[in-house]
Amino acid sequence: MRTAAVIAFLVAALVVSAAAGILVGAVAIGPGDVLAALFGSNDVNGTIIRELRLPRVLGAALVGGSLATAGALLQGLLRNPLADPFVTGTSAGATLAAVAAIVMGLAAPFVPLASFAGALVTVTLVWRLARVGGGTTVLTVLLAGVVLTSFAGAVVTFLLVSSDRLALQLRAVLGWLQGGVSVISWAELGVAAAIVAAGLGFALVLAHRVDAYAFGEDTAATLGVDPDRTTTAVLGATALLSGAAVALAGLVGFVGLVVPHALRFVIGATHRRLVPASFLAGAAALVLADLGARTIIAPAELPVGAITGLIGAPFFLALLVRSRRIVL
């Protein structure tokens, strides 16, 4: 009952934030005109709303939802409250692969595929590194993430500096590295939505197995959960979700960390509830963060990654202090 209420609340929150995101923009358009535009008026307002604002809001929702879901999965799999695609270096790996794809001149539809591959390689590496010497500890995961993020950052810098920077439109790439959902086309959105749908579907199916993981791998095995297959599937789902998010918006930090964590206080740690709730809450949170990015210093825009970092980093520090007391 309580879960149903929370889910209903989150759906409402997502609808309200999306409405706010569509109502506010660089050009002032009244609520009545926005409504008319959504339902197909053919004037310039219609184009602004349907071709510019709507895809941006939907893109932000997809990115936030994916990152939060991936965070919930990673926290369950690693049994570590401080894991998410950003701090584990998964997003950085996805970024590296995407930048490499752009530098090699691959066509746009390959960029999300490349970032998925990058995410998969990195998250698998983190998993392996975290298990060196038996159980995973908070610090090994974080250190593995730091190392992989620095390494990916170094390679990205190398690629950018050594390639034809003007042809690459360096400013666009740099903006992307800071995390932003500024301009998203329906084509990009379609590809990303398909990948996110696959990842989210996996996550929902796998959620009960992740719950079994909470008691440790041996217990999970006695509960009939094959640890290796589950691990592979969860890592795959995480990579799909983080890869799609990075392809759409670059490096957006901390959403995957804060959202599932906050939700645990409300609906408990059961992943069957946590996964769908994280998707909805993450989507609403990033739509609001993007709204903030557009309006706080208007007419200029902040990268949305700056907003999530401002809110997420202190939250992360607080968690780190707490978890050191508990785990170490």
Partner: protein
């Protein structure tokens, strides 16, 4: 990001000046008996005395270089900035740096006159403290161009006034002809769209804004708060430009890119296929080719008048 933007602006400002090639006015300017010493007021309102006819000139600013060659003083130019590529001969001179001036190189060239655009980082003062005679020349608008020709003519001992008059006449002719048009089409001039959410265009006080007005167009960003404002795609769609002008440049957007931008198909210029490219050196540098620049722009805005 911020520093990259500053660098971008610096490049823009340095390239905002200049030219070469076909120049109106005397093709071999008569070197009149301009009296030296000449005391001149430069673009920073400094009084600068040029004691004798300068024989070794260093030019920092592509438009200055173009003027010097157009005035027939090319043989006396011993050093230029890295961006001075017009006329082609200018690029063969010793290079003294671009955004950052290489002071040692300037001093080693033993110039008796240094002509430079404005710098906000103390470059001018540093050149002066090396006992160099520095005249600041920094044309920013179309009306600065004739004044620049006159000033540079006096500085190097050439008939700059005649050149300035001839340039002004050519610009005025374009302006007068464009004024007879019955429409003033809305023009959107794109500088840099590498951040597609915030696209750099030209606003009031910029050289290209002047060219758009002379050519008989209305700049869609004419009321923007700065000379190089950023517009969002929403604002550009709302302004519905009838003509879109891009730089014919390797890294700039191509007309096909603009057509395929999401939502842009609603813009009049896109519907009517009126997206043009223009040589960036011609229209970014307030130099002796300003007449040609105005004519080229007018052909895009009023093809029915200018053929």
């Amino acid at each position: 990001m911020r520093s990259r933007f500053v660098t971008f602006l610096a490049v823009l400002l340095l390239t905002l000046a200049a030219c070469g090639g076909a120049v109106p006015g005397p093709s071999s300017p008569a070197v009149t008996a301009s009296p030296f010493p000449a005391t001149l007021i430069d673009f920073q309102n400094r009084s600068v005395t040029v004691p004798v006819r300068p024989e070794r000139v260093v030019s920092i600013g592509p438009s200055i270089t173009a003027f010097l060659f157009a005035l027939g003083a090319g043989p006396r130019v011993v050093g230029v900035d890295d961006f001075s590529d017009e006329p082609a001969e200018a690029a063969t001179r010793e290079h003294v740096g671009g955004i950052k001036v290489n002071f040692e190189k300037v001093v080693a060239l033993k110039p008796d006159l240094v002509l430079s655009v404005k710098f906000s980082d103390g470059t001018i003062e540093k050149l002066q403290s090396a006992s160099l005679n520095v005249l600041v020349v920094d044309p920013q608008t179309v009306s600065d161009v004739a004044k620049t020709a006159t000033l540079l003519g006096k500085a190097v001992g050439a008939d700059g006034e005649a050149m300035g008059r001839s340039i002004q006449q050519r610009v005025d002719a374009v302006k007068a002809k464009a004024a007879t048009a019955t429409t003033r089409p809305r023009v959107y001039h794109e500088i840099d769209a590498s951040d597609p959410a915030k696209i750099f265009t030209v606003g009031p006080g910029s050289y290209i804004n002047d060219l758009i007005e002379i050519a008989g167009g209305t700049n869609v960003a004419a009321r923007a708060p700065s000379a190089y404002p950023q517009l969002s795609a929403e604002e550009i769609l709302r302004s519905d430009p009838e003509i879109i002008v891009l730089a014919a440049d390797a890294y700039a957007s191509k007309p096909a890119d603009v057509v395929s931008r999401q939502g842009w198909s609603i813009i009049a210029a896109v519907k009517n296929n009126r997206i043009f490219t223009i040589d960036p050196n011609l229209i970014n540098r307030p130099g002796p080719r300003v007449g040609e620049a105005a004519e080229t722009y007018a052909k895009l805005v009023h093809p029915e008048l200018f053929r």
